[in-house]
């Protein structure tokens, strides 16, 4: 088990390296210079541009810059922002991260609270109106693209009804983005929970429990729901990762000053260090989420442990 964990953890390094490398070279392939943004998209004076380049090490050959970047990144030094001069990339990310994390966690909480009971009830009452109603709601929930839902809700609740502010202001601004992201994941979780519970219901040990004459409530709680939740629990890690990265579009719809919003801003401004840092950070979260599934599988379902 320990070897397995170590193996999985080490495997994240080549992934992050690939993300950093691809991002680095793609970004530098873009035409123009990062200083154009400081001058309303027009080319800066060549002398000024050269001095900026020297200051940030952009005058060196590309390969040298790449090696320097990797060396610094290995020490968790991701440089300073071009736009917010003097602010480290880490601080820029940390300006946005709390907002994204709050949205992500709220959304996940909503998803679990809505999704798990829906899935369980749908499965236990299979082929009744409760099943069909929830199945229909779930299908709509996971098919409707989150950014379309975001736009609809923004138009209805912010523009028409004015229940929440159109611009990002206070805690009320969190309601819509968290709801939008939560609904999509809730539908996903409900589907998974339903399928998983249905599978558990057909297992021999459930029949054994019935044959022993256990009360139906005990069977449901102790045998069915507990075992049926395994796949749900294991998806929570990647679900949270997906929520945090999935907020890129949603944050831009609602103008939420989170990581995704700042990421797009940094792309528009050609802020190389921030783009690199945010991309690596995002990739790290996603990789961590995937890692979490593999590890939690081993913990919740001991049968898998011996396999690898």
């Amino acid at each position: 088990m320990l070897r397995y964990i170590a193996n999985r953890v080490l495997w994240t390094i080549p992934v992050l390296w690939l993300v950093a490398t691809v991002t680095f070279f793609l970004m530098h392939a873009a035409p123009g210079s990062p200083w154009d943004a400081k001058n309303a998209g027009k080319r800066l004076d060549p002398a000024l541009e050269a001095s900026f380049n020297r200051q940030y090490g952009l005058d060196k050959p590309l390969m040298t810059q790449y090696v320097i970047y990797l060396k610094n990144a290995a020490h968790l030094d991701f440089g300073t922002s071009y736009q917010q001069e003097g602010t480290s990339v880490f601080d820029v990310i940390m300006q946005g991260f709390p907002v994204s994390a709050r949205i992500g966690v709220l959304a996940l909480a909503l998803a679990v609270v809505l999704g798990v009971p829906t899935g369980i009830i749908a499965a236990l009452k299979q082929n009744t109106w409760a099943d069909y109603t929830s199945l229909f709601a779930v299908t709509i929930g996971y098919t409707l693209p989150s950014f379309v839902l975001a736009i609809f809700l923004l138009v209805i609740f912010a523009v028409d009804l004015r229940w929440v502010p159109v611009l990002w202001t206070d805690w009320r601004s969190y309601i819509l983005p968290a709801f939008v992201l939560g609904v999509g994941s809730a539908a996903f979780i409900a589907r998974l929970a339903r399928a998983s519970i249905l599978e558990v219901l057909s297992q021999d040990y459930v029949r054994t429990a019935r044959a022993k004459g256990l009360k139906e409530s005990v069977i449901t709680m102790r045998h069915v729901v507990r075992n049926g939740m395994i796949p749900v629990i294991t998806t929570l890690g990647p679900a949270l990762a997906a929520l945090i990265t999935g907020t890129i579009i949603i944050e831009n719809v609602f103008g939420a000053p989170g990581m995704g919003y700042l990421f797009i801003q940094s792309i528009v401004a050609r802020d190389y260090p921030v783009i690199m840092g945010t991309t690596i950070f995002y990739a790290f979260i996603v990789v961590l989420g995937n890692l979490a599934v593999d590890l939690t599988y081993g913990i919740v379902d001991p049968r898998i442990k011996t396999g690898s």
């Binding site: 691809v22 970004m27 409707l144 693209p145 379309v148 523009v159 999935g246 890129i248």
Partner: protein, 314 residues
């Protein structure tokens, strides 16, 4: 006793008369019964037709500003509309209806072409990896693992942001760049799927039988293995098409999709977003079309999956 036997022979004869039904026929029969899936298929078919005939049915050129056209004229049911423009004009005074019709082309093309590319690459790669097995499989799958772990939407954003304004980004109004970005990350899912199928299929008796009578390897792969992997490939195709449509819409919404003069539903939302507070309808129309096509594809995909793999649905 004899009566029972003749009866049995009778039913056997009866059974022999009906045509043998294959997996595909059964699947088609199950799919036909699924009303939601058929509704989805019909909508998708309509969208394909619209995409093809858009240049002939669109009342105006989607990119030029008609003579004396005002910007932001509302659709016909609102006050102050211009009878020449049924659904109004956008912020640059271009005809909204024409742009919506043309936009279906981008959505369809961006769904189907990258899927076709990923199927071809993924199938070849997966067949190779699964068939060779052992060390080769190990090496080939490491590459797949790394690409698979790369967050794809993030990759699309970086790719678009970097190459959007290069000559490559301008090919076919930006579509070539989108195809490339989608294909680079998309093939791994297909490769994984097919490799898994091949690994289990190649151990089965009918493959061993084919090999033992001297059927050449390429023939075993093409005639015996590949047809047996078709069902999961088709299911995966039906889910990959809408995922690319959505990715394009999302990227275009961020201003990182097709080139500005290419009408796309996602970029129409992007263009109309600043005027959302007083003309929300221009944001609603393209996003509703995105939602509808997504819902249609998902219903169809669910139906196809249930039809091809009846055990999975319950």
């Amino acid at each position: 006793m004899t009566v029972a036997r003749t009866e049995q022979i009778g039913t056997l004869r009866e059974a022999a008369k009906t045509k043998p039904r294959g997996l595909w026929w059964d699947a088609w029969r199950r799919l036909r019964k699924n009303k939601m899936a058929i509704a989805g298929a019909v909508y998708v078919a309509i969208m394909i037709v619209v995409a093809i005939i858009a240049p002939w049915v669109a009342p105006h050129n989607p990119n030029t500003i008609p003579v004396n056209a005002a910007a932001n004229t509302p659709p016909f049911w609102m006050k102050g509309h211009d009878p020449r423009f049924i659904l109004g004009t956008d912020t640059l005074a271009r005809d909204e209806l024409s742009r919506l019709l043309w936009g279906s082309r981008v959505s369809m093309v961006v769904g189907f072409i990258p899927t076709a590319i990923t199927v071809v690459i993924g199938t070849v790669y997966g067949l190779l990896s699964g068939w060779l097995g052992g060390r080769w499989d190990n090496i080939l799958m490491r590459l797949v693992d790394v690409v698979y772990a790369f967050p794809s939407f993030l990759f699309f954003i970086i790719m678009q942001a970097s190459l959007h304004d290069t000559w490559f980004g301008h090919l076919l109004g930006g579509l070539i760049l989108l195809f490339t970005a989608f294909a680079i990350t998309g093939w791994v899912g297909m490769a994984r799927l097919i490799r898994g199928q091949v690994l289990s299929l190649k151990e089965q008796e009918f493959i061993e039988a084919a090999r033992s009578v001297g059927v050449p390897t390429w023939r075993v792969l093409l005639r015996h293995i590949l047809p047996n992997t078709m069902a999961p490939i088709i299911v995966s195709i039906s889910f990959s098409i809408p995922s690319y449509i959505l990715a394009e819409a999302g990227l275009s919404y961020l201003g990182l999709g097709v080139q500005p003069d290419t009408p796309s539903w996602g970029s129409m939302v992007f263009d109309s977003f600043p005027t959302m507070t007083y003309l929300p309808i221009f944001v609603i129309m393209p996003s509703a079309l995105i939602a509808l096509v997504m819902i249609a594809f998902t219903f169809l995909g669910d139906g196809v999956r249930d039809a091809l793999d009846p055990q999975m649905s319950r």
